[in-house]
């Protein structure tokens, strides 16, 4: 499979740093990293990163496009913001990691099976944009059954005590399955999101054509 997006756009002349600066949220900060590694040491899931943030930053500068964008690394971010507040160069690392994840996903280069976060995060987005508010019951069920029915039944069994606890304390409602909470101006809400997505994609296309 040779998806057009998965090969480096010729317009960036192989300069992955420029591509990241143009298209990734807060990407213009990448070059400021001084490789101290405080981010790696501050991350609650640090040991599980394929490449810790400072390595990702250096790999971007070294043009390792495929390795960076297909990495599971940024999908290990718990959004605890520890790296961000400790970075001596004040790089918004958490946001850059989210931005890299968004960009990788947009290009279809994110890890497909494990870790599960790319798929879970997509389900979260689909869930919240459907009605404008998160439906926790549907989100939980979608997650349990993410790998099919057999595993879903197993996970549901394992989690049943938690579900019962939440039901008993009225912190989960079975009626949410029928629709549940949502915004009233559904049409305006969806039109707004559609427009925002259009503007963003147009910017990326423009950057690519101009070879920023």
């Amino acid at each position: 499979m040779n998806e057009p997006n998965q090969t480096a756009p010729g317009t960036y002349r192989g300069n992955f740093l420029r591509e990241v600066e143009a298209n990734v949220e807060e990407g213009e900060w990448v070059k400021m990293c001084m490789q101290c590694g405080v981010c790696a040491g501050s991350c609650p899931l640090g040991p599980y990163w394929e490449h810790p943030p400072q390595e990702i930053f250096m790999m971007i500068r070294a043009g390792k496009r495929e390795e960076v964008l297909s990495s599971s690394s940024m999908w290990m971010c718990t959004s605890c913001y520890n790296c961000l507040v400790r970075c001596p160069r004040e790089l918004p690392i958490t946001h850059i990691m989210h931005g890299l994840a968004t960009y990788a996903k947009r290009l279809g280069m994110e890890p497909k099976q494990a870790p599960m976060t790319p798929r879970f995060a997509q389900k979260f987005w689909d869930n919240l944009t459907a009605t404008g508010r998160v439906n926790e019951l549907k989100l939980g069920l979608a997650l349990y059954f993410i790998n099919g029915v057999a595993e879903g039944v197993q996970t549901s069994m394992k989690m049943q005590d938690i579900g019962l606890g939440m039901l008993k304390t009225k912190r989960m409602s079975p009626f949410e399955i029928l629709g549940g909470h949502g915004v009233k101006d559904r049409a305006g809400f969806h039109a707004m999101l559609k427009k925002a997505e259009e503007i963003e994609l147009a910017k990326i296309a423009k950057n690519k054509a101009a070879g920023v």
């Binding site: 949220e25 507040v85 958490t94 989960m172 101006d185 427009k195 997505e197």
Partner: protein, 298 residues
């Protein structure tokens, strides 16, 4: 005394039948005592928390919070926005700051908002309920309403991540914020000194997609509370509250521990100290009951 008005952004988990509905209950109880009027932003939407990024790009995510900011400007003009959920607060304040510093993004957000018939001036302060309590009232004023001091109850103040970083509470440090300890102390309880996991991460949304890794983090948070002699953990964050409370059974099975540590909202704690009933304080929302608070509330 006249009531103080705020524009309230409750967030998805605070709704009826959702995981932090007990947070809302207890917040309402303390607002009643403190004469705080929370005016819900009409038709607010989800902020996409910090896990929406797989499906939503930067601008669509910013647009979500921009819509809430614009609705607040229109319907609750002149009122500070107040959020009780850490992620809601973070996303909304982040959006306000990002749009204030980036003219192009601000213009683009307004183009998107126009589709929903809205415009944004972006002038409204975005605050956490804890900021309101500390800055608009102060510890002494909070203490003045105490009817049932929580004497003898030892509390591990678990601040967590997003109430503390990247914004935090003015004047507090990221590594060892002390406001939560000061609030529990004002209620007559005893804070655990040097609670080791005060600002550690519970895994956040990754408790769903990386359960085993997150349970290991949660286990340490609870263990440190026991080590400090705590009777219960108290937190301001809905995600922290749920993650640290509801997985204790699974963690016990996996690690052979015998955890049964109540994890309570600061607002539930305050409501009990203010003489509210257990139901008003949201104590019936505890999966692990906080027995000392139940007894005190009667």
């Amino acid at each position: 005394m006249t009531k103080k008005d705020y524009s309230f952004y409750p967030g998805c988990s605070s709704q009826k039948g959702a995981s932090a509905s007990n947070c809302t209950t207890s917040i309402n109880a303390i607002c009643d005592v403190l004469k705080i009027q929370l005016n819900e932003i009409p038709d607010w939407n989800c902020c996409s928390a910090s896990i929406g990024y797989a499906g939503g790009g930067e601008l669509p995510r910013l647009a979500l919070s921009a819509r809430n900011l614009a609705l607040s400007e229109r319907h609750n003009p002149g009122q500070d926005i107040v959020a009780t959920c850490a992620a809601c607060w973070l996303s909304t304040r982040e959006t306000k700051d990002r749009l204030a510093h980036d003219k192009q993004l601000f213009a683009e957000a307004n183009t998107a908002l126009k589709e929903a018939g809205l415009t944004l001036e972006n002038k409204t302060p975005v605050r956490h309920m804890v900021e309101v309590l500390i800055e608009d009232f102060g510890y002494d004023a909070l203490k003045a309403h105490v009817k049932k001091p929580l004497t003898g109850i030892k509390i591990a103040g678990y601040v967590g991540c997003q109430t503390n970083r990247p914004f935090g509470i003015n004047g507090e440090s990221f590594e060892n914020p002390i406001y939560l300890d000061k609030i529990t102390e004002a209620m007559g309880a005893t804070p655990v000194e040097n609670y080791e996991k005060k600002v550690s991460c519970c895994g956040g949304a990754l408790a769903f997609s990386e359960p085993e890794k997150s349970y290991a983090l949660i286990k340490d948070i609870i263990e440190a509370a026991y080590d400090g002699g705590a009777d219960m953990i108290v937190t301001p964050c809905p995600v922290c509250q749920m993650n640290v409370e509801v997985y204790q059974g699974l963690i016990n099975k996996q690690y052979g521990t015998k955890f049964n540590m109540p994890v309570v909202y600061y607002s539930s704690l305050m409501a009990v100290a203010y003489g509210k009933s257990g139901r008003e304080a949201g104590l019936d929302g505890q999966v692990i009951r906080a027995k000392q608070l139940d007894e005190l509330a009667g």
